[in-house]
Every structure is written in C-alpha cells, then in structure tokens.
Amino acid sequence: MSQRVDLAVLGSGPAGMAAAVAARRHGLSVALFDEQEGPGGQIYRGIESAEAGRTAILGPDYAAGRPLAAAFRASGATHHPRATVWRIGEDGLSWTSPDGGGEIEAGRVVVAGGAMERPFPVKGWTLPGVMTAGAAQILLKSAGRVADDAVFIGCGPLLALVATQYLKAGVRIRAILDTTQPRSGMAALGHLPAALAAPAALAKGIGMLARIAASQVKVFRRVEKVELLGEARLSAVRWRGPDGWHEIATERAFLHQGVIPNVNTTMAAGCRHVWDERQLSFRPETDDFGRTSLDWLLAAGDGAGIAGAKAAALSGALAGHAAAHDLGRLDAAGLETLARPLIRARRRELALRPFLDTLYRPAQAMRVPQDDDVVVCRCEEVLRGDVARAVAEGCPGPNQLKSFTRAGMGPCQGRLCGHTIVETIAALSGAEPEAVGYYRIRMPMKPVTVGDIVGPTILKEENHG
C-alpha cells in the first residue's frame, strides 16, 4: 500500500537534516531517505558513532554536525537509513532497503544530494590503491582507518584538510603533489575583499597550510601532469613539474581536485540545470529557497551548488520552510520572517566561494585528459581516444555518446564520468558545456533487482486483493 507524506527528503547531510527539522516545525509529515546507516551525510559521516579521539582529529567543524543530528533525531521525521531511492517523480518516489522498501507519495520533495568529488581522469586512476582524498577522509571519519605513506595529489581545501588530519593523527605522508595552477592565486586576489566577510574560514585555510609547511612532508608544487603506474595495483606515481619528470614509489595515492554537485537525482527528476562556469559544473537552477523549475521539487545544499556545510544547513532550512509555505502550512509573512536571517547568513557563507573557486580552479589538463589512453568512463572503460573518435564522427553530446561508446551506461550510470564527458566533448568540439548538455538519467536511478521493482507492486496487489 502506498504511503503519503507532506515532504520527502533525499539525503541526510546538513541540508537534508535541516530541511526535515524546519518542515517538522510547521507540522509537516516528513520522511527522509539516505543510503547511510546513520544521519550526517558525507561531511558529518559517522557523527553519532565517532569515538572522542577521532572527533578531536577531525576538528570542531566536524563536531558541529552533532547538534544538527540530534535535532533531526528529535524532530519526529521518519528516517529511512540504508535506503536506495531508485525512482523519483511528481507522484513521489520508490525505494529499496535491506529492511524492505516501497513507494511513497509526497506533496514536495527536497533533494539534498550533496557533493561528490570531481573526477580526476589521469593515467592509471582506476588502479587499486588509488582512491579519492574524500574516500580517505570517509575511512577516517566512519571507520577510524588510515593508511601510511600515501601520496596526496591535487588541489582544493579538502586535500589540505585530509593531509592536516593525517598529520594530527601521526600518520606518515610520502608526498603532496600540488596541482594548483600557478596564476590562480593572482586571479583569486580580486575576490579577496568579498572573502574577508568570512574571516574564520579564511584563517582556517591558512592554518592548514601552515601545519603542512611546518611538517616534514615533501610538497611538490606546480605539478602539471600526473600518471599513476602499476600492473595489478598502484606501485608508483610519476609527475611533471617545472623541472621535469619525477617518480616516487607508493602503494597508495589520494586524488582530489574539488567537489561538484551530485546532480544525478535532480537530473533524473528533470528540473532545469545550468552550467556554472566558476564552479565548472552543472547545478539545478534554484531560487533563494531551493525551488527548482518543477513545482514539486526543491534542491538544497551542495547538490544545488557548492557552498559548504554551513550554507547547506541554511539552505536546507530555507527549503523546509518554503515547502511548508507552498503546501499552505505557513503564510507568506511567516516565511518572510523565518527566511530573512537565513538568507542573510547564507549570503555571508557564499561570499567566500568566488575566492576559493578561483584559487582552487582545477587545471583544464587535469579535468580533460589530453592523452588518448586515459580512461574517462571507469565503468565501461571508455578512453579519451574513443570520445575523440566519436566527436570526429559527429557525436554532439553525452547521450549520443552512449551509443557510440557505452560511456555512462555502466553501473554508476554516468554519476562519476558525467562532468568529464561533458567537458571532454566541449573541448573537442569547441561547443560550450551548457550546449553540450548532460546525460539524460533514466529510472531506475540506481541499479536495482527486478525483485526491488516488482516487490512493492506485488505487495500492493496482494493488499488490494
């Protein structure tokens, strides 16, 4: 039998939790779905279970997730953990989980899909032993697991953050290869005045860099090309810097070059997306409240544009209040009163973004592979050369590329390669990413078994019969 709620929330990171809490304040019935065991999302992963020592290493920004998770637990929202939502639409959604699944109707849906790490398509990035810095941090957050003697490669605050956390925990780091573009510091300076509106965040960044500088870790700057070498697994990293090629033996490498919105669900829902040239990513087009081009759908948090955990919680609350208003449970004046301070606080958080986005803008060569033998779609092992051939034969975009190469048709359904494919086609064809467009995401959004799909239907028929 199909259930019904006023609001369904997808994702239990800061945005999802805040949306649920806000909507509950107005008496909306709320069901929240998330793939993880406990609330927190990626940023606060393992927040309810992390030991004190681990929390100390992860720092106060991580601990800030605790009260939010507690508020969510106390809110009265129904939490569906370990849930895979595989269909979303105007009439609600379908999910599956180890404890069963089903269908649920919802008056409004807030997608708080969060961020994912930008793909780092370089030679050898599919080798065992290579993972993202975010993955390394998740292993630290949720499992307290660390690996000695890894090489950290890339750019962006998260790479520095994980390195700092490793140093704090006394874990050896073999080397850091910094791919930050040499001129981006100058370009970012223009955005510094605006960024000064958020001095705490700036000071934190400087503190991390100072900690790394004071350590014994070797840092190689201006890295312009990276290759990960090995047969069955990673054995070495090779790179080109200003003084030529270098090589270092290692069994583990952590890659990172910033995060992008995880747009899979909003794309599947079919709301309008825009290409954000500063963040080099697609994001759903939203108003201050997270309303999208579809009246039943709101998007909140990093999934609607990268802005960080604090901004995510604020945007989640805005979406929760807006959903209450749009469902006739909060009047316009009430929404206005609640929203004003939230919007103001969120704008303060956003003030830092142009500076950070410009400073850590990943180099074109690291986003769009130049060599034909680099894998662009990990699932189907499609190479850059395959894409180049397809474009030369007139393939205009990612959806047509599927029939040329199977790119985006593996189990991840284009989640990981989407932005690489868009930018590679754009670079090869000379078209703008916005014009190239993104994969059309079909249902089921995640590979599910026939039983998952048929199961609830049969159940429904049985109930009716």
């Binding site: 065992p128 993202t132 292993l139 590979p447």
Partner: protein, 103 residues
Amino acid sequence: MFRPLEKGPRRRVSVRVDGRSVEMEEDANLAAALLEAGFSPFRTTPVSGAPREPYCMMGVCFDCLAVVDDVPNRQTCLETVRAGMTVAMQEGAATVRDVEAAS
C-alpha cells in the same frame, strides 16, 4: 594497507571473505573492513577484467562492488559488517548488465 587509528571497544564478529574466516568489527563499514583485511581486488571489470577497489567510498563509483551473501553488485561502501556475512570477489560482472537489461 589501511590500519585502525584506535582500538575500538566494538564486538568483533566472523565474516567469510573468499572462503576464509576474518574477524571484523561489527557494524563497521564493510568496504573499510575489507580494505583492512587485505581483500583485493574487490571486483574485476566486465570489459577488460581489470582489478578494482573502492575509489569514492560514498556510493558514486561502483568500483567497490562485490558478492555479499551471494548477491552480486552490492556496493560494499554502503554495507555494514554483520556476523556470519559472506563476501566474495565479483568477477567480470556480467550480472551488472543483466540487472540493467532486466530493469
């Protein structure tokens, strides 16, 4: 190799990994526990048979797929360790395509 930062007070349970018995922390993230146990690779690709291990740890890449309790295509980064679980390497994964074709 990934190692634990702290000795957790958690109960350890037995999991069968590719036929051998491995002690793991109950309720730990399965992919993390498998990495620590030296399970490698997690799967091989259907296209070239290349070995793969977890890349994203957050449900995006599907490189952590393995056969869990006889069910193929389980994202081990989204599973937790339970007593008596069985895990096996996933070869080729024609099954991934089967699922896709069936849906």
